[in-house]
Symmetry: C2
Subunit: 153 residues, 2 copies
DNA sequence: TCTGAAAGCCGAGCTCA
DNA sequence: TGAGCTCGGCTTTCAGA
């Protein structure tokens, strides 16, 4: 269903989607039309979900990353729905996961400074009750990629 | 330096970079040429770093997210360099941060299953010494966006 | 069925008023 | 800065493997 060339195409486009089809065709060893058709198929199938631009976080003045681990005492669907709504509306929260283990939820925030983080923190706790909130400030981003491995398909 | 329209343009492109310039110009209330020039400037300035495709994780068979918090006893530059190298070479590790507080590093992994996670885990501990490794499996992704807030620029 | 060549056409990229 | 032209490159068509 998906051969090595398809994987190569996705691998490439996950890193750079601004490349002309002709160049990409060249690197994977296909003609322009064949390569274009494969890209089209990958988009139609939904494997390639969308195209976006990635912003330089430093230049956008949100260089600081903070992880927030929260625990709640309210384990209900209603609480979760509200939580989802609240974090969805806060643009500084870029990732949120419900976890196994001692911490219930893990959030990743991008902010300009500790001061702004504190504002977001206050906004968060003003809207929802938490049993425990722990913050971890990132000193260094060692790796960040939007490219997922193509070995498992 | 950067007005409301520029921010609108980036906000839009962070969600969908496949939109034709003419459509985008329309939504932000600009002529095509003006809009195109602004996009060009944003790219040249580096604020828009690059364009990528985002892959549907379920369809790519890497639906499972695992967080790995690690502590090390080796606090040296050499160790950090090796660590960086090792995590850079493992495609399942999509994010890695050096943190303040009790956990030294936090990794985010995307894998098909617990079995595969175990393989990656073994690969990791075979290459580096850790004092402590804790895994947190994500039950649900509540939010994930590559779009950063444009309020701070 | 998937390929590559080649034509057609749309829109990005540039010129000018 | 906005209108309009130009042309590169996306998209389609068609024949062959």
């Amino acid at each position: 269903m998906l051969d090595g060339r398809d994987k190569k195409i996705i691998d490439y486009l996950q890193r750079d989607a601004a490349v002309p089809v002709a160049d990409l065709a060249d690197t994977v060893g296909l003609s322009v039309s064949a390569c274009w058709r494969r890209i089209k198929n990958l988009e139609d199938s939904g494997l390639i979900a969308r195209r976006v631009v990635l912003v330089d976080r430093r230049k956008a003045n949100v260089a600081m990353t903070v992880f927030v681990a929260v625990r709640t005492s309210r384990h209900s669907i209603g609480w979760l729905d509200t939580f989802r709504e609240v974090i969805g509306a806060i643009p500084e929260i870029v990732e949120a996961y419900r976890l196994t283990g001692e911490m219930d939820y893990l959030l990743r925030l991008v902010v300009p400074s500790v001061e702004v983080y504190d504002t977001v923190y206050k906004e968060l706790i003003s809207k929802l009750d938490f049993m425990d909130v722990s913050s971890f400030i990132s000193m260094e981003e060692l790796k960040f990629t939007t490219a997922v491995p193509m070995n498992y398909i």
